[in-house]
Symmetry: C2
Subunit: 395 residues, 2 copies
């Protein structure tokens, strides 16, 4: 029904893992995979201009229907010529449907088969999302890839609640598919099923039967233990079609990306690299370092010696340390540039390793050297954080 200029093909596969390197063709960009998308929920990757994002070697970003619907409103963006034009970005865009945001950000939500009513986290006004509206809004925004509306249970919900949310997500996915009219946008379905292998299988199989051009793995990395996250990726990927792109939603730490690539995921997004940057946590090949640490007060070298990013080429760790301590807005920007540059370089290394048949060794070496930082991920804390943040600058 929909003739789409979106397509995906796999170029190399890893003999020892499920990793694959490919190419995602979208109307606005040809995107090599595995790929990480920076998050620009409100139509801007925080602190950066579109030109800067592009100069980091990034040609696909994520934006959020929920945020843009509430502010500035879908109608404003439509009038301004669509989201690409509005935000001055001519690369590819993927818009999330708003499902996850409604279930994690909006208070007083009520969900039934028709859709979900919720109050705005900004002004408390009441709103309503249905699968049909989510598609209509995303068609107005005009992203290259759009997402079906899903219901996201909490990570500790009962199997029964998770099953009900999954089944509703399936019915909504079908309605999204039927609603879709605009050409040139690829509509991806979102696999749910929580932490239950049987539900993950059912969800992947059911949605696969509907033949979407791409599949997302939703409802993970929301508070469950890391081992469970990885196991659920395995349980889901096993039942997804080989030839379609797989998008692991909300995962973006370097170590998680490497693990998930090995499990067959192609597309990633997360606010983590940009958010931790604004908190002073900078990625290095040995793990995250906190630039506000006193050890950097008079360090003449950049935070990562030999790093080719703008920040490291031009500024000492001491200067970054000073900007953070002084609360200078430039700090957040220079740290964001570094972290996105790091992730982009990581993705280049991952793709090269897959192409060279050396991904398994790369993964082993990388994970041996990289010391992840413990970060609270329990849902309650995440929600609390999101609620606090969203008052001013929600991601």
């Amino acid at each position: 029904m929909i003739s789409s200029s979106n397509s995906f093909h796999i170029i190399h596969t890893c003999p020892e893992t499920k990793a694959r390197a490919g190419e995602l063709l979208t109307p606005h960009a040809t995107v090599p995979t595995p790929v990480f998308m920076p998050v620009g929920s409100q139509g801007a990757v925080k602190t950066l201009t579109p030109q800067e994002v592009n100069s980091l070697g990034i040609n696909m970003v994520l934006a959020n229907t929920y945020h843009l619907y509430l502010r500035p409103g879908i109608g404003v963006i439509e009038k301004l010529g669509g989201l690409h034009n509005f935000m001055g970005w001519d690369g590819a865009i993927l818009t999330d449907s708003g499902g996850y945001q409604v279930f994690s950000l909006a208070p007083l939500r009520k969900v039934n088969d028709e859709g979900v009513t919720f109050r705005s986290h900004i002004d408390g006004s009441q709103h309503n999302f249905t699968p049909e509206l989510a598609i209509r809004y995303q068609e107005s925004l005009g992203a290259d890839i759009i997402m079906a509306l899903d219901e996201c249970p909490a990570h500790d919900d009962s199997p029964d609640r998770v099953k009900k949310a999954m089944e509703r997500t399936h019915r909504w996915a079908e309605r999204c598919l039927k609603t879709q009219k605009r050409h040139g946008q690829a509509l991806y379905a979102i696999v749910q099923g929580g932490v239950f292998p049987e539900l993950r299988r059912q969800s992947a199989e059911y949605l696969t039967s509907l033949d979407f051009p791409g599949y997302a793995i939703g409802g993970l990395s929301i508070g469950e233990p890391k081992k469970i996250t990885l196991a659920m990726i395995d349980e889901t990927v096993a039942f997804l079609p080989e030839a379609k792109p797989r998008y692991l939603m909300g995962v973006g730490s370097p170590e998680d990306i490497v693990e998930a690539v090995a499990r067959g995921c192609d597309i990633f997004d997360s606010a983590l690299p940009t958010r931790v940057a604004r908190n002073g946590a900078l990625f290095t090949w040995q793990g995250r370092k906190n630039i506000t640490n006193a050890a950097y007060t008079d360090m003449e070298q950049p935070i990562v010696a030999g790093c080719s990013c703008y920040t490291c080429r031009n500024f000492s760790a001491a200067y970054l340390n000073h900007l953070f301590n002084a609360g200078e807005l430039l700090a957040y920007r220079l740290a964001t540039i570094h972290n996105l540059s790091f992730i982009t370089e990581l993705m280049v290394k991952i793709r090269s390793a897959i192409s060279d048949g050396a991904f398994h060794a790369f993964k082993k070496d990388f994970l041996a050297g990289y010391k992840p930082t413990d970060e609270p991920t329990r849902l309650s804390q995440k929600r609390k954080w999101l609620e606090k943040r969203s008052l001013n600058q929600a991601d």
Copy 2:
């Protein structure tokens, strides 16, 4: 005694006003005057990289000894190779001595002939500035132009107090001159005298007798009525040497710059253009416009039609309005770029008009079209604002 690579020469003068166009030679840049310096108190022009500042056509910025002394500390910057190296700026730098900041930002200050003790506005720790230390610190920072330590009375202080502060400022200026050792830095004296013509005359005459390479007009635009500010500029300039550069401290609104150029001032600095930008007030040739106004919600044009700045070339007023409403950090940056670009363009127009013998007409036309916005400038409010701001990101 000091052989300086700093010099100033006047190229054109206006036949109808006291305006002059010239060139300020500094070790790091040849600066055409009249010139506006953006403020980078803490070693960064807020939100911008040095490359961006330079790309706006700006080659001289102001930094603050008071701020840099407190954070990161003079020793850190010295170790990192001086202020130019530390902040990655290879244009000219003028450092203020810290006089004004101690008297406007720091609590519990005590001043006597020796110097001034004060508490840090950051952590309450006690510190001491003397004329000798102010010069030593500025020699360590290594700016192209440095300032003598001055005592700044409040705009409503009694004539007697203002006179005493002026006389102390004179004694301190002499000590600064005697202390100065480093070559290649031009030391400017600061004329005080409050709102009293006779004191302004005495101060200008006395400091002129010491033969500094440049003269600043201090203690203005701190709460007194605009008419008084302009009258005091006249009363001061009349007694300053024609051949030396005149730096009007802390003045930076477009209308005030035009008025002060007409009165013979050459150099300006102010946090106003960048500060009001972060509050959403954007300069246009008709005056300041508040981008958060609902009128801009869906305006497809840039805030200033035909403006050649990066912001106006790339983004609609609607997008800026959205970024401000959404609290996106990019908003502050795009607005800063626009306002600094506007002021730079204004300075280019001023210099061209002087060169073409058309400044008087330019001034009349500009002021007829430009509607300034009323802004509270009473000292108490300014101090309050400064104190509040300075907790996080003091200018």
